[in-house]
């Protein structure tokens, strides 16, 4: 026999056996579906846990001030109103401080990224005495409460004539985020294979050119993610902001400052307004988060 030789075999079974098998199969399938289903349910539950408070504050931000104070509260912004949010946004100081926040955050982003790129590259690519000490030192600076750092810094800034200036706050924020940025950027460079760089050097680039033409373009997405993280950190930072600025407040500083002096409608609108940018930025960098941390923890 030279025909097809593989067996299309089915075990010969009695109908009873087949029925038993089917029952077995149904049970197993149910178990399998139950497992998948419960994971799904768990995911949805966790998502609700995260989203519910955000939804509630959004409800508040889009209700009238009267509804904000009402009891029991509505769980939906009905009637829909931008009165509360309008009031918040039209309050003098809010637009200014939003602009300040943007400027501070962007400046901090630029300073910290520009400084972190060479430092991160050094940590990623060179083996040199003190490398681990520097890594450790960089991490440990985060252990010191900013609260107290702000005091002598304010003195330094006053001495330099930089007190209550947007750029001095940006410099402070850059200092706060620099350690993390350096480590993240280092991990981004580590993930760019050294071979690319070596290949570029073989084909006539100097080390600088190789970095500029090959490594940096490959690292741009990761660096951008790190930069956005700096932005978010600066956007949220309130302590240094409230101590180092008076007339040029950033948004969180302005909100914190007016928080204990204003009613719930203002509070809730402020809470909502502060939330929004972070939602957007996290959307942009969500995929890079894991790479960044994955490298750091190694």
């Amino acid at each position: 026999m030279t025909g097809r030789t593989y067996e299309q075999s089915k075990p010969l079974m009695t109908p009873a056996q087949t029925a038993a098998l089917d029952a077995q199969r149904r049970r197993a399938r149910l178990g399998h579906n139950l497992r998948r289903g419960s994971i799904y349910a768990l995911a949805v539950l966790l998502a609700i846990w995260i989203l519910l408070p955000i939804w509630l504050i959004t409800t508040m931000a889009f209700s009238t001030p009267t509804d904000v104070r009402a009891f029991p509260k509505h769980f939906f912004p009905i009637p829909f109103s931008t009165q509360t949010l309008d009031f918040f946004l039209n309050t003098q100081g809010i637009l200014n401080s939003t602009l300040n926040s943007l400027v501070v955050a962007l400046l901090a982003l630029v300073i910290s990224t520009v400084l972190a790129i060479p430092a991160g590259y050094a940590i990623a690519r060179y083996l040199f005495p003190g490398r681990d000490a520097i890594r450790l030192g960089i991490l440990s600076v985060r252990a010191f409460p900013i609260v107290v750092l702000a005091v002598p810094l304010a003195v330094v800034f006053i001495r330099l004539g930089m007190f209550d200036k947007v750029h001095s706050l940006a410099m402070m924020h850059a200092a706060l985020t620099l350690p993390t940025t350096i480590l993240v950027v280092a991990s981004v460079f580590t993930s760019v294979p050294r071979e690319f760089e070596e290949a570029a050097q073989i084909f006539g680039c100097t080390r600088m050119q190789a970095f500029w033409r090959v490594v940096l373009p490959l690292a741009v997405p990761g660096i951008a993610a790190a930069a956005i993280l700096t932005f978010v950190l600066s956007w949220n930072e309130v302590f240094a902001a409230i101590l180092l600025t008076i007339s040029n407040r950033t948004l969180p500083a302005q909100i914190l400052y007016t928080l204990d002096k204003s009613g719930d409608p203002f509070k809730f609108a402020g809470g909502f307004f502060m939330l929004v940018p972070s939602l957007i930025f996290i959307f942009f960098i969500r995929r890079y988060l894991f790479n960044m941390w994955g490298q750091i923890t190694k």
Binding site: Q92, G93, L99, V103, F163, V166, I246, D260, I285
Partner: protein, 429 residues
Amino acid sequence: MKRGHFLLLAFVAVLLIAGTVFAQGDTITFLSTQFNVVEEAEKARAILAAFEGGAVEFVGSEEAAMIDLLKAEAQTGAGTVDVIGALHGTFPTLVNEDLMFDLTELLASIEEGTDVNDAFVQLGRMGTEDYQYYIPWMQATYTMAAHKDALQYLPEGADINALTWAQLAEWGKAMQEATGEPQLGFPVKGLFNRFLQGYAFPSFTGGMVTKFKSEAAVEMMRFLRDDLWPYVNPESINYDFMNGPLLSGEVMVAFDHVARLKPAFDERPQDFIAFPTPAGPAGRGFMPVVVGLGIPFTSPDPEGAEALIRFMLSPETQGAVLRDLGFYPVVSGVDTSNLPEGVAIQLGAVEALANSPDAIPALLPVGLGARGGEINEIFRNAFDRVVNKGEDIQTVLNEEAATLQTLLDETGAACWPPDAPSEGACQVE
């Protein structure tokens, strides 16, 4: 993230930075520790818009930040602030640091047209005779506010304009029994120290610091802990501003600064009444708050600053401040006839308080300089330890009195009203 996003962000950054650098204008800068509440600052700016001597930039500030800024500007010699508005209690530090112009001549020229309250002018000299550190700007105090629904539970025979603290406690009890919820509210997270310094201690002991650990003070603490606080809404620990809880119906009766009660009266004048704070065994302690205007040496535009102060002291502006911000005038001749309903209600309570026969005016602490905040914490701590932590009253008062004495000794602060004047540092009895 695409590369394009990154470039876009960088571009926006450059634009924004360029924008702020060129956005400096030529204005009179008015730095104030008052009206830094959002709504208030809005109204203050509206009033300042009527000033014809130039554009005014009104900037709200914390007290210490203001002091630090003025100090820093004095050191560098290049100033930005033209006029400051601050509580009487803020000025001692500025005086110590020798930062302020003498405004005697300005005051004299103002008084040619308008009479400024002499007691406040006296305060503005900060104990000197020939140097006017500030010109009084406006005054305020603390009163009670109640929802009209609460009146039905008022104890029998009690006159709401001559209430005692014991009656308030009774009232609170009656309201709680009727509604099932505690209906009294105090701004424990807010200006609560003023309640202790200017109302509780003077009403029960007749003094503020000298009688800090007296028997009367012990009795006061016991009253707060056992008689009053059981009927105070426990969420008071999270209240900054009493108009919110009043408006939302969390409490029916509240104590707070007039300006911080004002939104409730503005929004629903038909629902709320204002009345003087209650009296205790020693009298009706109350705390007038004086706000002054001064010009730092570093002002880039002293002429503009003087014009602005003159504007602020005009009866029209004073009337506008009363109408819109609920701070009371310090000059005569202010028209109070056409006040909004809410302001009128509050003004009535303030006048009743100041004119009540048993009134004991208690001033803000004077002479503590940069450590002015510490005395507030001492009073708060005493209250916290007794009422919230349940510690022994006499022990707590003795311990906090010791801290208080150290503070007074180290700063050399003399006694201030309602305590009798002292030679040298004030002494706790």
